[in-house]
């Protein structure tokens, strides 16, 4: 049922014994995880299961207390968040993460700009960035934000901000995407939209997402890891985990009264 035996070259990101202790309690406890290249992998579990902590550990926004993380065979356990972003592992945020005072175009361009390497060239005009304008506009178009190209991102509606965030993330051409509750706070219509967007971008990419909306998870993901109380409860396809007694119990509760 688990994939730890999978061919290593198929595994893009893997964690072994991942543990995070906060003052007084263990949020993530010895989690082993393998994300297969090209898959959509969902991390689910009831509230307080440690999903977000786990997510932050994988994206290096938190330092693990123990365990190792490898990306494409490289040990990234001690690398910084910016470093792993450069290795092609890019995350999104639960709350819409745009640059509110930059325009939609500029938001996307910030990501494209990364391709130029470090932008310490303060003496150059930003006109050099106009080389990216077409591509940025295309990315914006992909998420349907073309009419808002020159609006400050801070003035977009919530759903559009999320779309912009995804466009920005994609602009990095990441090998792997980590989406933190992409549907959080979405209106129903937007959910379908973002779902379609995720499916679209999953081509040639690996996606790991934390998501509450189980219908979305069921619909999108190839593989699911269920966490409960900081530990891996079950892994497998949606059908496999949804029929797992322990998972049902974790979600719905044990012992019908």
């Amino acid at each position: 049922m688990t994939d730890t035996g999978a061919n290593q070259s198929d595994v893009i990101l893997s964690a072994r014994g991942l543990t995070k202790r906060f003052a007084g309690f263990v949020a993530v406890n010895g989690v082993d995880l393998d994300i297969r290249r090209g898959s959509i992998h969902a991390l689910i579990g009831p509230n307080g299961a440690g999903k977000t902590t786990c997510f932050n550990l994988l994206t290096k926004f938190l330092q693990p207390s123990a365990g190792t993380i490898t990306l494409n065979g490289h040990d990234i356990t001690r690398q910084s968040a910016a470093d792993i972003a450069r290795r092609g592992l890019v995350r999104s945020f639960q709350i819409s993460a745009v640059f509110p005072q930059l325009t939609v175009l500029e938001n996307v361009r910030i990501a494209l700009q990364r391709r130029r390497g470090d932008s310490f060239d303060f003496w150059r005009s930003q006109k050099v960035l106009s080389a990216f304008d077409d591509e940025a506009a295309a990315r914006v178009n992909e998420v349907g934000l073309s009419p808002h190209l020159h609006e400050p991102a801070g003035e977009l509606s919530y759903g559009r901000k999320r779309a912009l965030e995804i466009a920005t993330t994609l602009a990095l051409e990441p090998e792997m995407l980590l989406l933190d509750e992409p549907m959080a706070g979405m209106a129903q219509a937007d959910v379908a939209l973002i779902s379609a967007l995720i499916r679209k971008i999953s081509a040639n990419r690996t996606i790991l997402m934390v998501e509450h909306n189980l219908s979305v998870v069921a619909d999108l993901s190839d593989h699911i890891t269920v966490l409960a109380r900081g530990q891996v409860l079950a892994q497998g396809t949606y059908d496999q985990v949804s029929s797992d007694e322990r998972v049902v119990e974790a979600y719905i509760g044990a012992g019908h009264a």
Binding site: F61, S80, S92, I95, A97, Q101, L102, S119, Q126, K127
Partner: protein, 327 residues
Amino acid sequence: MTTQSETGLVESAAVAPTVGTPRHHIIIFFTLLVLLLLAPFVLYPVFVMKVLCFALFASALNLLLGFGGLLSFGHAAFFGSASYVAAHAAKVWGLNPEIAILLGVGAAALLGLGIGALAIRRQGIYFAMVTLAFAQMVYFIAVQAPFTGGEDGIQAVPRGRLFGLIDLTSDLTLYFVVLAIVVAALLGIYRIIHSPFGQVLKAIRDNEPRSISLGYKVDRYKLAVFVMSATLAGLAGATKAIVFQLSSLTDVYWSMSGEVVLMTLLGGMGTVFGPLVGAAAIVTMENYLAGFGAWVTVIQGVIFVASVMLFREGIVGVLAKWLKKPL
């Protein structure tokens, strides 16, 4: 990790920026330049030079505060130390003014690198306080070091000859040199703001975690902008030392740091032209109100309070909102 537009230090001017150098910026720059070229024939040149120096100082702080999102409460350290070094170089070593100014700027840059490397490890209030603490140490050194002349400062600094050729004793000649320096520096700041680097800077200011997640090493950017800001503040201080032929403890005292924050805040942080307006307003006010003694302090305080309570975007920020154009 809230979006910082609601709570951040720099409020969105709610203006749709355009791509490239906006035409109205060129017009404003050109108008300003013409006015400044005419100014010394109408106004007292030394006064305008003072305004220019402080406009540069405030713009340097604004680069850090308005575009880097970092409030330094110790910028007088760079302004003052550059002023001391330039004054010393010109007076004691007898160097040409341009070399003296360069040395002053170099000193400010080095100091900025040292203080910046330590200060950027902290954020928000802590960042402000660390910079203040270091500035107090610089002040202490300025009081103690023999070459600074204690409370007398370094006086009777010769204006000297530019490149050994142009005599700067005349206020008018000096004026155009200072104007050239300040305009060049302001254009430089404008370029920094609108460079690829400036774009990343604004991104970091708007949303630091997101910038990290896009692969930017934000600490390096913060340090870079800190050093740039310190360097430009140093340029302002060194130029002021040559203009007034004097560098004194006032230049390194913490109230100078407060004053330049006030200029930036009043003019509009995060705007291009705000610091110029703020500096001109404060310097003019100090000059006109000098006779009112302690009332100057009261009026400054009232402006501080009013800026915070009523128009956080500053004069230019409010104008920009009104005109719906970034200024």
